[in-house]
Symmetry: C2
Subunit: 176 residues, 2 copies
DNA sequence: CTTGAAATACTACTACG
DNA sequence: CGTAGTAGTATTTCAAG
């Protein structure tokens, strides 16, 4: 094996490792432009998208499909305006469980999925076991939710609610 | 004016008030089916969507456009898999400001918008002034973010970080 | 006011260079 | 990756419930 070939193989191995470490690195300027656009507005037609990223339509479509297949684009969805949909109130909730047993956690997680308007639920470090964010209509409806669902979540020692007074920033967009 | 007319007017006023109170009430079964579908997968073609909700393509398209124009559908976007994009770590952050003045809040809010990977930032009631959620790659990158950006946010007295260990639920879907 | 059928314009998609 | 061609879709028009 020649010294040149060895150097080439080495170079390639480094490149592959870099991609593994950060998939974004494997995306060129055009892929990023596509992702930036689709994160903002995915209802744009493929030809318009192609023009925007200065590519032919088929080439652009191939890239988008590759991005979907690779799983980087998880889904294309419609975002609904919560206020218009009658769920203008956002509440963040910290939960402390009674006992820190696997069964206790599993039971809670199963039940939490079914809380009406629950958008996020995560296990966290720190003074809480779980953090949830819930969308509901107003303080009345939240009070009902609190009394009828949250207080009946299994194995809960304490629930602390942080009502959102003002949404400064709320985005699904990812820094690229 | 006849008694019948009066009753009709009354009835209509009640209906209008109901719609104002909850725009979802004004949506029929088909609109809801459309929204449910588009919240899950908006890359579906209009003809396929029409078939799914048992409507002709033009009628379906008109409804979708109406839903967009009314603002109920805020946007159609591509969701990127954070892990695949090299930002698999999620951190929730509670912030307490030094002083509770309008200037202090305004200054903080302006600066918070520019924190790399900040997905949400809200004013909340309770023991914190703000709650933020931040996406980043790993604990190293979060540590850098913490040292280089979070600690320099203006007017901050205390920052408390809750690292997310497990994402149980994370959705943009709305209960309809 | 909304729907559905037909016609047109445009787009997605394929094959190939 | 781009060009050209085909298949299918979106979109308009219009008639009818």
């Amino acid at each position: 094996m020649s010294a040149t070939k060895l150097r080439k193989d080495q170079k390639r191995a480094v490149a592959v490792a870099a991609v593994r470490a950060d998939p974004l690195q494997s995306l060129d300027r055009i892929d990023r432009a596509i992702l930036r656009q689709l994160q903002t507005d995915a209802s744009i037609s493929n030809v318009a998208l192609a023009a925007r990223v200065k590519l032919s339509a088929p080439a652009c479509l191939r890239r988008v499909e590759r991005l979907k297949e690779s799983g980087l684009i998880q889904a294309v969805v419609a975002l609904i305006d919560p206020k218009a949909a009658g769920a203008g109130m956002l509440v963040m909730i910290g939960v402390v469980l009674d006992r820190s047993t696997p069964e206790s956690f599993a039971e809670f997680e199963k039940a939490a999925q079914n809380v009406t308007g629950c958008m996020e639920c995560h296990v966290v470090t720190g003074e809480f076991d779980y953090f949830m964010t819930i969308r509901t209509r107003d303080s009345d409806s939240f009070n009902r939710l609190h009394a009828e669902q949250l207080l009946y979540l299994p194995g809960v020692r304490q629930i602390r609610s942080f009502m959102v007074l003002k949404e400064i920033l709320s985005t699904t967009k990812f820094p690229l």
